[in-house]
């Protein structure tokens, strides 16, 4: 750099602002690196640059303003070029950091609810939505709550030790969850809208369809004016939620000591749509479980007046619902607890 020397005033005018600007803009555009931009900036805008010198020395206002405008434009041009180069550099760097996006990510453990719980929750939620309460009951019960109060006479088949697990003459593992319904009804007057879900026990030899322990959902509604039609509507609603809104539902006659009239509920086969297939055994309908209008004797047993109140009840196996819906071939798989099965749900 030239040492600073005083220059005569006329040199200022001699600076060809336009040429200088063109030259500086060319240098900015030519700079290939951030450093080169910086060098050019110092050369054209630095303290000792021709432009700065001219600005220091300029005296007339008009020239000063023109030179300042040049300076501002050059500042902006250098900034722009610098940013451009920085962006390019960053892009170059990032491009080198590519990952294989198909590699798996950091592993988080994920567990799963058991299929029976999934169905249990689904059924609970449907009935909670309908205004029912969910009642937990005990599994070891007395003959009074399992059989006597449910109008099951001394000849009823499930009373036989061939079908039922007795602990003593008077206590047994519940064969259905209805005992908890009796306990609720004994404790208060209608209205009662409840479902009870849980384990029940029957002396069945394990095979693909049966296991001596399984889970039931039983529902009970007792109120003024409850009808068989209300049962039919409730079952249809439940079955459509579980198996598809377009399914047909029918009821057909049956017999249980604790209901009169008694019915079985069938849902139209959701595999074949009623055409007939292996799942529905070519009937087009799949049996889901028993139901009926609560027998007058049961109401009387708990101190309800059957002339004033009526009710309906139903009871189904949760495993069966799950197996039907997912096509699980063997109930015993639900008790094996193999992660290969559990991970799927």
């Amino acid at each position: 750099m030239n040492p600073e020397e005083p220059k005569p005033l006329d040199t200022v005018a001699a600076v060809d602002a336009a040429a200088l600007e063109t030259e500086a803009l060319g240098a900015a555009a030519a700079a290939a690196t951030v450093d080169a931009v910086q060098e050019a900036r110092v050369r054209y805008l630095g303290r000792r640059s021709e432009l700065k010198q001219a600005l220091r020395e300029v005296r007339d206002r008009e020239t000063g303003m023109a030179l300042n405008a040049v300076r501002e434009r050059l500042e902006a041009a250098f900034d722009r070029r610098r940013a451009e180069l920085e962006r390019a550099e960053r892009e170059r760097d990032l491009a080198e950091e590519q990952v294989d996006v198909t590699l798996q990510g950091t592993a988080y453990r994920r567990g799963a609810l058991h299929p029976i719980t999934l169905i249990r929750r689904e059924v609970e939620d449907i009935f909670v939505g309908l205004g029912y309460e969910v009642v937990d009951g005990r599994e070891v019960e007395t003959v009074h709550y399992i059989f006597d109060q449910l109008n099951m006479g001394p000849g009823h088949v499930t009373r036989s030790p061939l079908h039922t697990f007795y602990l003593t003459e008077n206590t047994l593992l519940r064969t259905e969850t209805s005992a908890s319904q009796i306990r609720v009804m004994e404790a208060r007057q209608p209205p009662v809208y409840m479902v009870s879900l849980g384990r029940v026990y029957r002396r069945d030899t394990p095979d693909p369809k049966r296991y001596p322990i399984f889970h039931q959902v039983e529902g009970l509604a007792v109120d003024r004016g409850i009808t068989l039609a209300d049962l039919k509507g409730t079952l249809q609603l439940l079955l459509r939620r579980l198996f598809g809104e377009e399914r047909s539902v029918r009821i057909r006659t049956s017999f249980f000591p604790f209901t009169e009239p008694s019915v079985e509920a069938d849902v139209e086969c959701f595999i074949c749509g009623g055409e007939g297939c292996r799942v529905c055994e070519y009937e087009g309908w799949i049996e889901v479980g028993g139901a009926g209008v609560v027998d007058e004797n049961v109401l009387r047993n708990v101190g309800y007046d059957p002339e004033e109140y009526s009710g309906f009840a139903f009871g189904w196996g949760l495993e069966r619902i799950f197996m039907l819906r997912y096509g699980l071939p063997d109930i015993r798989m639900l008790w094996q607890n193999d992660l290969r099965l559990l991970r799927q749900f």
Binding site: V140, Y201, T227, K232, F255, D338
Partner: protein
């Protein structure tokens, strides 16, 4: 119960298709399990391939001693050569022939074949091959003359449609073709034929010696005697009907008893009268240890609760269940005593259970057969015995107690509508009931038919009869609820939360049996007669079953095993019912800290601070186990499973009881926290938890969180001592804590720990 359609149509001439019949029966009467064709299939011209044949020549097969080579005229002009393995016929016999291409009842398709060098251009059939009976000793020789080439279906009942129904225990009347016919007549509103059986004239009036000592067990006993009986195979129509109904034809007399049972629902029995001591029948309870050899050849021991049919000296049948071998009707029998009785259901059921002996007869009696039915059954049996065995009916007696009057109940038609939820006009209600055999007065007094007298005793039972006939029309409605609000209880909601937290921690939920082979609790409840020894005791802990489940998963090569279960345990109380409590148990790969981490997350989610105290418990590592408020957490005892595993088991009721109802809001935003890391050197045996407890006590409520972030032993730490580094977080709800506050709190904690544990604060 199998119902051959042709048999059904004999009693009720309905017009509907079988599919419609099945649909209506299923909705209103009983479930139809299946529809099948018994005998020869009637598809693709199959029936045309079964013909009447006349044997023109029959002789020894040149290359096989046991085969005959026959020439059979099947009406084609040219006879066919057929090889046959039976020898009960010769030239001139009229036989049943299947031609090549025919599909036999078993599904086998017949081909033209070469047997030992000779072409067989068809097959001469036996009864069994046609499903007309059991006889397979020889081929079926037709007794009635028929032209060769006549379709076999014209002379024999070759096949027919059968429906198989599943009836409910309240409907013994449906265990009869006539009973099903009665329903069909009501369903389709078509006439029902009168019950089958027209008594022939009685040839003599000899006395029949029947004594009923126990009218409770046997309210009615009709005994009829027959002489000059010729026991022989039944005619083809009877054999075919029994076979189609799933019964084995035996001989005319025995077949008649089975036929009548199937037709009307009243089981019968026939004795060889000449083998009854003094020709007498006594209905009584068995004597203690009395024995009888039953028809199936088994010797059975009875007791005083069992009802028997005896002769003058010994039991000759177990009443209603099975006859005795000694008085069985056989080929040589010429005198028969027919029993058409009625037995009480419950005692008979108990006997059948005690003996483990269930028969077609007991299956009906145990449901309660109409005592008025015996007469009709006797009439039909008498008619058939006389017809088929050329016997003479020589005597009869009918011993009975007062038979029950059928129930009469008052029906309120409006109540029926109220219960069903469907408007059925009174006139229609009346028609429905009358078609089903009920009798109604003007005032709606309903007299129940005798065959329904056990099942229909109340107004609501009559309402069910109307309802079942209208089930298809009942609308779908929902209860109009009042005053009800549905929600899960707090315990149920928290159980779901626990499940979700465990799943979030990577655990899989499992379901294991409540019954185990054994439980460590000495008083654990035991099933006196378990189904298997593997499931005989009600568990008081869940962990053992989880160890089993983990073992299964290891054995099949699964990895990442972490399991939990929520279920009841059954704690003995000394009373007859155990205390049932909800438990959560979990097991995971990875030792103590893996289990404790999940336990802490669970407690955090419930807003409970776990308090751990070193403890010992079976199945856990003695040095790596702690008691926590609601249970136990620890490392699994080494050796139970490969590698290190952690586990815990918590009483959920206890855990949920200490969980706050709802979290309390506090302002942790306005005044920032002050954080200090302090390390103390203490003796090796001082638990970190004790340091934290003491720090909390010394610092007061401003200490909001304290956790151990490092435990160090080694250089700069004397032997037998360790350095425990604590991360402490202080906050005041009222102001920002200053450095001076920090110094004050640090000094207070350091002083307390120095005093309690000789702890040195490291610089």
């Amino acid at each position: 119960m199998k119902v051959p359609i042709s048999w059904l149509r004999e009693y009720v001439a309905y017009e509907a298709s079988t599919a419609e019949l099945v649909r209506r029966l299923t909705i209103s009467t009983c479930n139809v399990q299946r529809v099948f064709r018994h005998g020869v299939a009637d598809e693709n011209g199959n029936l045309d391939l079964f013909r009447v044949g006349r044997v023109l020549e029959a002789g020894q097969h040149p290359n096989a001693d046991r085969l005959q080579l026959c020439l059979v005229d099947v009406g084609e002009g040219e006879p066919r050569q057929i090889v046959c393995g039976a020898w009960n016929f010769g030239a001139g016999a009229t036989v049943a022939v299947a031609l090549p291409g025919a599909v036999l009842p078993g599904g086998q398709k017949l081909e033209r074949a070469k047997l030992r060098g000779s072409v067989s251009d068809g097959m001469i059939l036996s009864e069994r091959e046609l499903e007309l009976g059991q006889d397979h000793a020889g081929i079926l020789v037709l007794s009635e003359p028929a032209e060769p080439g006549t379709p076999l279906a014209d002379v024999l009942p070759l096949g027919e449609e059968v429906i198989e129904v599943e009836t409910t225990p309240n409907r013994p009347d449906l265990l009869a073709v006539y009973g099903i016919a009665r329903e069909v007549a009501a369903l389709f509103d078509v006439p029902l034929a009168p019950p089958p059986g027209v008594e022939p004239p009685r040839a003599a009036d000899e006395p029949v010696d029947v004594r009923v000592e126990d009218f409770e067990g046997c309210p009615r006993y009709i005994g009829r005697t027959f002489a000059d009986v010729t026991v022989a195979p039944s005619p083809a129509w009877l054999k075919a009907r029994l076979a189609a109904a799933g019964m084995r034809p035996i001989s005319n007399v025995v077949d008649v008893t089975n036929y009548v049972m199937h037709a009307l629902g009243n089981p019968l029995h026939a004795f060889d009268r000449s083998k009854l001591a003094e020709g007498r029948i006594v209905v009584r309870r068995a004597r203690r240890r009395e024995e009888i050899r039953t028809l199936d050849g088994n010797l059975r021991r009875l007791d005083e609760r069992d009802l028997v049919i005896a002769d003058a000296s010994q039991a000759v049948a177990i009443a209603g269940i099975m006859g005795g071998a000694e008085t069985e009707v056989g080929e040589e029998t010429t005198e028969v005593l027919l029993e058409a009785a009625n037995f009480e259901p419950l005692g008979l059921l108990r006997t059948s259970e005690r003996l483990g002996l269930r028969t077609e007869g007991s299956n009906r009696w145990e449901k309660g057969v109409d005592p008025y039915l015996a007469e009709q059954a006797a009439a039909l049996a008498t008619q058939l015995i006389v017809e088929l065995s050329e016997a003479r009916w020589t005597g009869q007696t009918d011993v009975h107690a007062d038979l029950p009057e059928p129930p009469v109940v008052t029906l309120r038609p409006e109540r029926a509508n109220r219960l069903i939820g469907l408007e059925v006009l009174p006139g229609e209600q009346r028609t429905i009931l009358e078609r089903l055999g009920f009798d109604l007065s003007e005032e709606w007094r309903v007299t129940v038919p005798t065959w329904r007298a056990r099942d229909v005793t109340r107004e609501v039972d009559v309402i069910e009869e109307i309802a079942r006939m209208k089930l298809d029309e009942v609308p779908y409605t929902l209860p109009v609820r009042r005053e009800m609000f549905g929600r899960l209880s707090r315990a149920q909601r928290l159980r779901r939360l626990v499940e979700d937290v465990m799943v979030g921690c990577g655990f899989f939920e499992v379901y294991t049996p409540s019954l185990l082979a054994q439980d460590e609790h000495e008083q654990a409840l035991r099933i006196p007669e378990p189904q298997s020894s593997e499931q005989s005791v009600l568990r008081t802990r869940i962990l053992p079953a989880l160890i089993e489940a983990a073992r299964h998963n290891l054995a099949v090569g699964n990895t990442g095993i972490a399991l939990f279960e929520i279920a009841h345990v059954y704690l003995p109380t000394g009373d007859e019912l155990p205390e049932e409590r909800w438990r959560l148990a979990a097991i995971t790969e990875g030792g103590f800290s893996a289990a404790k981490g999940a336990l802490e997350t669970l407690h955090d989610a419930l807003g409970v601070r776990p308090v751990l105290v070193r403890a010992r418990e079976s199945l856990y590592h003695p040095g790596k186990t702690a008691a926590v408020q609601a249970g136990v957490v620890g490392e699994l005892e080494p050796g139970l499973l490969e590698d290190r595993w952690g586990a815990f088991e918590l009483d959920l009721d206890t855990l949920l009881a200490v969980a706050p109802e709802r979290p309390e809001y506090e302002d942790v935003i306005t005044f920032p926290a002050l954080r200090l890391d302090l390390a103390f050197v203490v003796d090796e045996d001082v638990p970190a938890g004790d340091l934290i407890d003491a720090a909390r006590e010394a610092a007061g409520p401003e200490l909001r969180d304290a956790r151990v972030f490092d435990v160090y032993r080694g250089e700069q730490i004397p032997a037998g001592r360790k350095s425990v580094a604590l991360a402490l977080e202080f906050r005041s709800p009222a102001r920002t804590l200053t450095d001076e506050d920090g110094a004050r709190l640090r000094d207070a904690i350091a002083a307390a720990l120095r005093e309690r544990f000789s702890a040195e604060l490291r610089a």
